[in-house]
């Protein structure tokens, strides 16, 4: 079970992720995007999925039982190659529904002081 004391607390990564042109090329190729100079709208998930799991690994959230319920992006500016992005993740809410736990995780990616993208993932932790 999720530790309820952690709801609302933000965990910020101590290292940044360098966005490579190769990473953009690979992601763009999947969806047939020819403009590889900027990231497609959902590219940031390739950073935040892994980062949020690491940042929240001591939260009691059982990632092996997680089903992705919904996803939202607010994109302040497109990610580009060379960005050094630091992820911070917050469990914004957690509630029990029919034995399952529904957890909303917000992950923000910053480049220095600049907020680049905010993402919200609703995760259903199956009982």
């Amino acid at each position: 079970m999720l530790n309820p004391d952690l709801v609302g607390r933000t965990f910020t990564g101590v290292t940044s992720t360098l966005v490579s042109q190769e990473a953009l090329d690979l992601f763009c190729a999947v969806i047939g995007e020819e403009n590889t100079e900027i990231a497609p709208p959902t590219f940031s998930i390739s950073i935040t999925l892994d980062q949020s799991q690491t940042l929240l690994q001591d939260s009691g959230l059982d990632w092996s039982r997680v089903v992705h319920g919904d996803q939202r992006f607010e994109i302040k500016r497109p990610i580009i190659a060379g960005d050094q992005l630091v992820c911070s993740s917050t469990i914004e809410s957690a509630r029990a529904v029919a034995g399952n736990e529904i957890v909303t995780v917000r992950s923000d990616l910053h480049s220095g002081d600049e907020l680049v993208v905010s993402t919200w993932s609703t995760l259903v932790v199956r009982a």
């Binding site: 990473a23 690979l26 992601f27 190729a29 999947v30 969806i31 047939g32 995007e33 403009n35 900027i38 990231a39 497609p40 709208p41 959902t42 998930i45 390739s46 999925l49 892994d50 992705h68 319920g69 919904d70 996803q71 939202r72 992006f73 607010e74 994109i75 497109p78 919200w120 609703t122």
Partner: protein, 138 residues
């Protein structure tokens, strides 16, 4: 080029586009996104956890719908918000090509921002719910 002009009003329906999903695309997305969950690649594993077969990453479906939105918007740079609920898994049997049919309806066109309701359908079943995007026209 941006599809939107001031004369595109709420209620306007936008052209449908079909994306094809197969097992090779799932592997390609797994490598591009880092999501190597075996339910998206290994049939035996997927069935062992109660799924009908290998399923596509929900985020792959969303990435393809994102491509549809980027093209409407005249490029990814104009996409400001994008959200969706994963309502039904997209089942991808071996050697099959699954058609993901994407369309949109304008819900608002005001002050340089167009709000879209998005629809993503496989075999006449909606696979995303409450899918929405906000794009800038300025």
């Amino acid at each position: 080029m941006n599809t939107f002009h001031a004369d595109i009003v709420a209620g306007a329906e936008l052209p449908t586009r079909t994306f094809q999903i197969d097992r090779a695309l799932l592997v390609q997305y797994a490598n591009a996104s880092g999501d190597q969950n075996p339910i998206h690649q290994n049939e035996e594993f997927a069935i062992s956890v109660g799924l009908p077969n290998v399923i596509a990453h929900g985020m792959l479906t969303m990435a393809l719908v994102g491509k549809y939105v980027s093209d409407l918007a005249g490029g990814s740079a104009a996409v400001k918000e994008f959200s969706a609920r994963f309502t039904k898994p997209v089942v991808v049997p071996a050697n099959a090509v699954v058609d993901l049919v994407v369309s949109a309806k304008v819900s608002q066109n005001e002050a340089g921002l167009v709000k879209l309701d998005l629809f993503a359908v496989v075999d006449d079943v909606k696979v995303l719910g409450m899918a929405k995007a906000v794009i800038s026209t300025s």
